[in-house]
Structures are given as C-alpha cells and as structure tokens.
Symmetry: C2
Subunit: 346 residues, 2 copies
Amino acid sequence: MAEQKQIRFGILGCATVARKLARAISLAPNATISAVGSRTAEKAAAFAAETECPATAKIYGSYDAVLDDPDVDAVYIPLPTSLHVRWAVLAAQKKKHILVEKPAALNVAELDQILAACESSGVQFMDGTVWTHHPRTAKMKEFLSDPLRFGQLKSVHSIVSFLVSADSLKNDIRVKPDLDGLGALGDAGWYCIHAILWANDYELPESVTAVREPEVNEAGVILSCGASMKWKDGRVATFYCSFLAIFSTDICAYGTKGKLRVHDFVIPFAPQSAPFYTFESYRLIEHGVAAELPQDVLMVMEFCNLAGSGRAPEKKWAVISRKTQLVVDAVNASIHNGFETIEVVY
Amino acid sequence: MAEQKQIRFGILGCATVARKLARAISLAPNATISAVGSRTAEKAAAFAAETECPATAKIYGSYDAVLDDPDVDAVYIPLPTSLHVRWAVLAAQKKKHILVEKPAALNVAELDQILAACESSGVQFMDGTVWTHHPRTAKMKEFLSDPLRFGQLKSVHSIVSFLVSADSLKNDIRVKPDLDGLGALGDAGWYCIHAILWANDYELPESVTAVREPEVNEAGVILSCGASMKWKDGRVATFYCSFLAIFSTDICAYGTKGKLRVHDFVIPFAPQSAPFYTFESYRLIEHGVAAELPQDVLMVMEFCNLAGSGRAPEKKWAVISRKTQLVVDAVNASIHNGFETIEVVY
C-alpha cells in the first residue's frame, strides 16, 4: 500500500467541543493539525497548548487566516450552528475539505449552500456524527439487514438525553437562539433522527409529526422534544431528545423476526468492546464489538481517506447529513405549526 | 391468622385465554373453581377436563346457569370484549364479584355500566392485567418513586408486540370487528397504556395523539398502532403496539436522575427471578425479583382477598381500569378522527 497522504487540518474556533476532535485528529495516522484559528490569537494559542497540537501548528487570530493558509487541506468547524453556513461556504470556496460539527446547519436551505459550495469546489463534506464510524454500527446494521434474524423493520424508538445545568440552560451556546437556535433538537435530536434514518437504510419518512409538548427555555429554545414518523409500508418511529433528563443514548428497533437494542450508541461506555443486544430465534444475545481506535479517530481517518483519495468526493455523507437535516427541519416546522404533520420530500 | 374464605369461581366462556387463569385459580389457596359455563355443556366439560378443574366443579351449557348458581361467589370473564358489558353487568347484578379479561370493555361508556353495576351490588371489580401483581412491579415502582435514584419522570416509552399468524389476522377473535373491535390497541395496547399510566402514578395525560399510521386488516381492525401523550409539566410518553412484530414487552422510563428498563414486563421470562435494569448514579444495575408464586396466581389471590374480606370493595382496581380504558378510547378516537389530539378527562 502506498503511503497515505496526510490531511492537514485547520480548526475554526476553539469551543470545548473541539478539544475531543482535535485529539482525534492528532491520533489519526493520516491527519495532522496544521493551524488553529480563533477570534484572538491568545485563545487559539491556549487551545493549541491544551490539546497538545503539534508545535508546527500555526496560530491565527481569525478564521479567515486559516482559510487563506495554503498548508491547510481541510477545516474542522465546531462553531455555533448559526455560523456554519458562512464559514463552511467560505472554506469550500477556498478548496478546503469540510468536517463540520452537527447539526450541520440551522436548516436545509443553509446546508444546501454549504453542499453546493463543496460540490462546486470538488471538496469532501462530512458532518461530525461519530457513532456511525464505530465498527459496532456496521455489525448492528448487518443484523438489521438480515431477513432471517431480524426480518422487516416495523418500529424504532430512539432517545438521546443529558442533563444541562440550570445555569447553562440560560447561558450555554446550545440554547442561545442566535447561536444554536435548534436547541436540544439540533444537538441530542440530531442523533435520534440520524439513528432512526440509519435503521431505515436512510429512507426518508413520508411525514413527521412533533410530539406535544416540547419544553423550551425563556428565549423559546427547545430543551426537550420528540416526534413520530411514518413510512408508507406501516413502519413507524418515535424519538425523545432532551437537555432535561439523565444521560441516555438508546436505540430500540423491532422487526418481524428479531429486535435490536443498544443503550450507549452515541459513545460506547466501553469502546474496546462496545455491546449491543439482539433478540433472535427467541433468544437474547449480547454482542461485543471491538474497535482498535476510538470512533472519532476512525471518523477522521475515513474523512481523510476520502479527502486525500484524489478521486471525486464521496457524496454519501452529504446525502446522510441532508436527510437528517430535512427531518430536523420537519420536526421544527411541526413544533412551530401547531404540531401538524409535515411531509418530508428530498 | 384466621383461615381465609375460599372464593368459589364460575368461569364464563372457555376461550384458550381462559386456560391459564383457570390453572391460576386452581393454584390460589383462597380460590376454587366451582362452575364452568360455555355455550354447550360439552365444551364446558372438555374445558374442565383440560384445565384439571376439581371434580366437584359444575358444568353448565349456558352462562346464565353459572350466574344463577348460589355456590358461585365470583366470575372470571374471558369472553370476547364486545360481550363483557352484558355478562359483567348481569353477573354483578347477581352479586358475583367480577374478574374480567382485558381490555375491560370496548369503551369507557360500557365499562361505566359494569362499574355502576359492581358499585350498586357492592362486589369487587378487577381486570385481568397480571403483571402489576408480580412483586417486581412494586420493586420497580420503588425505584421510580425515589427522588434521589430516579428523580422526576420525563419520558416513558412502552412497546408490546407479538406475531399473529397471517391466517389469524383474518379470523382470530382478536381481529373480528364484532368481537374485539379494538384489535391490537385493546390487547397489546392495553398493556402499553397501563404501563405508561403506572409509571406516571396513574395520573392521566392531558391529551393523547395517535401516531400516523396504524396498520389495519381488511375489516379495518387495528393490527398495529401507537400514540404520544403529554402531561402538563413536560412529561411525555409514547408507545407502539402490534400484532405484526416480534414478541416484545418493554418499558423504558427516563427521569432527571436515573432510568428504568424492563424487557419482559408482561410475563417475566424467568418468573422466579424477574429482572429489571436501573441506571442510577451513572451505573447500570441489574435487579432480580423473586416471586413465590406465578403472577397470575398472585392476582387471583389479591382478588379473592378483597372479594372475601367482608369489607367494601377496593375501588383502586376499577379506577386503574377506567383510566386505562379512557386512554385506549382517546387513542382510538384520535385514529378515527384524522390523528387529532384528544383531551383526556376522568
């Protein structure tokens, strides 16, 4: 095998959420951090020190400077969601591959601007949903796809919740209408919706209806919500996402012959042997799937493989992001339109 | 302790579903089968032989004969749901205590006739939902009620499903509009709704909205459906019930400090040590709860304790049945009214 090209990352913004992925970039053999940009050079320098960036990484006091650096092949964008469209479009226009935190955008119109810019520049796009890159996810999919073990999918329920402190519920970036206006729906809900689409082979539901009633903070940002979805052959799904309930990341999928349960799908508690449970032939079976590297490192490696392949970008990830965003938008529309049923069209 | 009065049961109807409870009546120390009635004496005799009824049990070729027998203190009614109101009201009028299979009635108007007859005659009422009588249920409730371990309830999801054969989906009693017109909603759905109410301390939701779309058979009887429910403080619940998916009986309840999971709540796979799972203080704990007797025997014993107590009937069970029926009715109304949100009022 020829030596792989190392993708040189520029990090746009130094949010806490960025630290974990900065470490993943450092650990990925085909990636390196070559630049860190923040609104001040001091913040960028502090971030680089905390995350053990290589000494060669350049420190910038602006995001533009990162985009203008010819030694940057790709950008990782952990900025508040409302800023994604601006910086992802600019980065793509400057021929940088795009790895953007989820939710990919505030709505599908903004995401489409990002995807159009990526398409036009021929750069790779991926959102930062890491769990799909853990080998457990492929193993679970194998079960769901098996007509003898699982049969046809009938119903999926997903929940992602965690407790955000009372203070953060007022002041955190994730609940500021001008920064992450989707609140729990864009954050925890993105995972639920992605999981439901994943279980449905990324087939979009025909329609989505929000569950009465979401909880909101004083600014009207969603702190908890849910929805139901339907497909034309009787398949249904429901989810609940929340900043107000104990830490949970569950998928329960029910088929005509078997069922699947996973209770730590977003981040495996024991990543070296991530468990899931199947009920097949009327027996409960525990499975453990090992991963040689953390799932975020695997995601970075996959992204860099694609970005450095020299081939046309892999569209799969853009399509998955767009479908997830479409359903996020539909839930949001249902919530803001008296819980009416919203049709989903790609 | 004084020797307990033995409650003498008459069984009205010899459906397959009745066999299990006939055995439970035989095993309960404070119950005995004193009469079996069917539409023909031959069917009643065959049933009595199959279920090892005592040799003293009288065999009747009509339900009326059972109700006229002065040696019958209580009746167990496993008839199709559409017949409950007629026979339960008649039985109550003849001063028989009433143990009726679930769903208690086709709708709350019919159930209210039954409950009024029981009230007027001063007889005990209970529906045949057995899982609440397993000691595991009390143990799980202890956890849900603990403000330190579980906190406040935020969301519950329940699923009850099992596969009914293609032939039965056309011809089984449970899917005949004139016999059990509620289909999967009255059968599997009764359990889901009861479980959700149980988790909510039997507080009724403010409103119920059916999930699009139920599946129905050629006669329009529900084969699978679901709904969401809301309480005024942001609590929500969803359920899925089905005759078309693999055997499942799950409750997942999420609180502010902990969560509860049980995957065999209707009938424990291993009744001698029925498991449930809590997540508390960020640790997953498996609990096993032993039962000295099968849960259906425990239900019969509880019923007979109340019926034979000489005190006024215990209203708790009627209230629980009525609340469950109210929510069943609301889901049914939502399904038949364009999935509109139905308010629930006791």
